[in-house]
Amino acid sequence: MYKILKKEKIGPNLNKFVIEAPLVPKNYQPGQFVVIKVDEVGERIPITIAEADKDKGTITIFVQEVGKTTYKLGELKAGDSISDVVGPLGHPAKVDKIGTVVTIGGGVGTAIVYPETKAFKEAGNYVISIMGFRNKEHVILEEEMRKNSDEFYILTDDGSYGKKGFTTDELQELENAGRKMDLVIAVGPAIMMKKISEMTKGYNVKTIVSLNSTMMDATGMCGGCRVEVGGETKFACVDGPEFDGHKVNFDLLIKRLSTYEKQEKEALDSYNKCKLEE
């Protein structure tokens, strides 16, 4: 069992957890993720590691409540335990000194962008970060990102915090202003990564995205996470999760993410019904 040491409700349907997982931080590098399973009957889901503390043997994760598993997790408190945590998984991000790096986080994707932003900053790059959220209540990691960026932009869809607009708008402004960009890192909803990648292809700026495809074992065994990159089938878990955004077939990714839509709804409905009856 893996103990929840801290739980914080960040916004509506969004929680931050610090979990005791002593083996995970040892070899952790930015860009990697864990697979968690909440209880005996739970499913295995991949979650990005936002922070890992080697001395304390803990990891920090941000989890948005979208289905039965994440709602179940959301009901747990500090002191409770979850049955499984395994990682770190996936290839770490390639962090080098390359010049100006634009890191773009959309929603909970910011939890992935944050450790990379920090790593690129520490590697001596000029870091411009753009964060986009649905509204004020969904904002996460603002201070952490601000501290690790040379320039910092925050936007909300409805204008309730920061500028009104999308991350794509801010990126376009940078381009319009003729700003130098050597690398873009974009993590967020698939549709955001798709749009950013389309834009940067036009700017001819290399773009890295982190793909959130459906995974089960996340060790290369099942192939459920397969994505198409440059016309080839890749497994997001062992070949990724980061890929060249200009080569990813996002339409396929978006379709594949809907594979269990029907069952996810069914599971959540029956879960909510059970909660009501309690």
Partner: protein
């Protein structure tokens, strides 16, 4: 023995009726009764130079254990088997005896061979049903540590053998439950998971430690394991990376690798959704591509999940199918339809990205290829469209890259598997041994156990002499 009854018919295996079993995941083969076991055991000729033993990858003393069954000494029979095979309840169920021990049985020349596997299962089940979990005796402690990576048949064997020899053993398992392919791959109806659980319990009683959720190569590296004080490491990772056909449309929704399909069902219990959280999609018409045991397991699982029509698609003829005859027969009894000498060339999807049909081509058999089987050759102009809702691809696996990418010191074969000496399991890295599917490519449970047994001996030798 002259009073044997070799000419008597081979005792049939009692099974759940096909109509009933397609609606549950309970074990299909029910096992011999005491009476049946005795009757079957009495057919054994007790050959002075038994050929059956030569057919066994772990050299079980078959005539002796069969004689003990004749004498009604069932627990003793089980103990005799366990001297060479620590998992007889599993191998009695899943070994391809018809190609191994039973293929060598002299009775098979004129009559039917002795049902060695069924007797093995009987003795081991009898012992388990009539006693507590028992741990084999352990020798004096040697104060050396062995790490075993993977808890499938190879890993469990190495762990048991090394523990018996007095070593401190720890098994590291990547998934959240032990057993490897025994847990995620082979379905409940062929190998009940309580059996796997009990064997793991027996190992723990011997002092073997087990830690799940550890991916060697990620969570901890081989080098770090040595730094932590392990003296030898055995790699029994399994093959692990599913092969796809490499044709257009393979990533459409509703197309699974057999690994994913079976893991969702066996390990994650998707057949109990929504009681269990992991879902699975089963359409009305399911097509399983492949002709091996994994294909049969997938097809028979699909039947139980309520598919109206389940097909096996295989590019050669029935004769070339690598699956055990018993499994092909079980599948047929359960209504699986065999579409032979056809091969998919493209998957076609609907507007939402779900697979809706397969473009197939008919095949004919040509000259034998390297495997000795007749090579399937496409018949030009024979393409046709075949409607489906769900596809499972069961055409084998490649080597899992995680550990090998993290450990360049370990040499790979040209197929990407670990290059290990067949008699010892020694790899190119000092102190590191390997065995099972990660060395041979996809093979059998018993072959992996045989490799584990050899590696355990070599580990003992290495730890005693220090010689590499």
């Amino acid at each position: 023995m002259s009073d044997n009854n070799g000419k008597a018919p081979r005792e049939p295996m009692p099974k759940q009726e096909a109509e009933k079993r397609v609606k549950n995941f309970n074990e299909v083969a029910l096992g011999y009764t005491e009476e049946q076991a005795k009757k079957e055991a009495e057919r054994c000729l007790q050959c002075p130079k038994p050929l059956c033993v030569k057919g066994c990858p772990v050299d079980i003393n078959i005539p002796v254990f069969i004689k003990l069954i004749v004498e009604g000494k069932y627990p003793e029979a089980a103990k005799k088997i366990k001297e060479d095979d620590i998992l007889p309840r599993m191998t009695g169920r899943v070994c391809p005896q018809e190609d191994q021990c039973e293929a060598q049985c002299v009775l098979g020349i004129k009559h039917k061979p002795i049902a060695i596997g069924r007797l093995e299962r009987f003795a081991a089940d009898y012992e388990a049903g009539n006693s507590e979990v028992e741990a084999p005796a352990v020798q004096a402690k040697r104060n050396k540590k062995v790490a075993v990576v993977g808890s499938g048949p190879a890993g469990l064997t190495v762990a048991a053998d090394c523990a018996r020899m007095g070593y401190d053993v720890k098994i590291l398992e990547a998934l959240h439950k032990p057993g490897g392919v025994l847990a995620y791959g082979i379905p409940e109806f062929r190998l009940p998971k309580v059996i796997v659980g009990r064997e793991v319990e027996a190992l723990k009683k011997m002092g073997v430690e087990l830690e799940c959720n550890v991916i060697v190569g990620k969570t901890i590296t081989i080098e770090q394991l040595f730094e932590e004080g392990y003296d030898a490491i055995f790699l029994g990772l399994g093959a692990g990376l599913p092969r796809f056909l490499g044709i257009e449309g393979e990533n459409l929704l509703g197309i699974y690798s057999a690994n994913e399909f079976l893991t969702r069902i066996n390990l994650m219990k998707a057949y109990k959704f929504p009681e269990y959280d992991t879902p699975i999609n089963i359409g009305k018409k399911v097509a399983v591509v492949g002709g091996g045991n994994v294909a049969m397991d997938s097809a028979r699982s699909a039947v139980r999940l309520g598919a109206e029509e389940v097909h096996i698609i295989y590019r050669r003829s029935r004769q070339e199918m690598p699956a055990r005859n018993e499994e092909i027969e079980n599948a047929e009894e359960e209504g699986v339809i065999f579409d032979l000498l056809v091969n998919p060339i493209e998957f076609i999807g609907d507007e939402d990205g779900w697979v809706k049909s397969i473009k197939m081509i008919r095949m004919e058999l040509g000259e034998p290829d390297d495997s000795g089987r007749k090579r399937p050759v496409p018949i030009e102009g024979s393409e046709f469209i075949y409607d489906v809702d769900t596809v499972v691809i069961a055409i084998g696996q490649n080597a899992n890259p995680i550990l090998l990418d993290a450990t360049p010191e370990i040499q790979k074969s040209k197929w990407g598997y670990i290059d290990a000496e067949s008699e010892t399991g020694k790899t190119s890295m000092k102190g590191v041994f390997a065995g099972g599917d990660i060395v041979t490519g996809e093979a059998t449970v018993i072959a992996a156990m045989g490799a584990g047994r050899k590696a355990a001996r070599a580990i003992d030798d290495y730890l005693k002499t220090g010689k590499w």
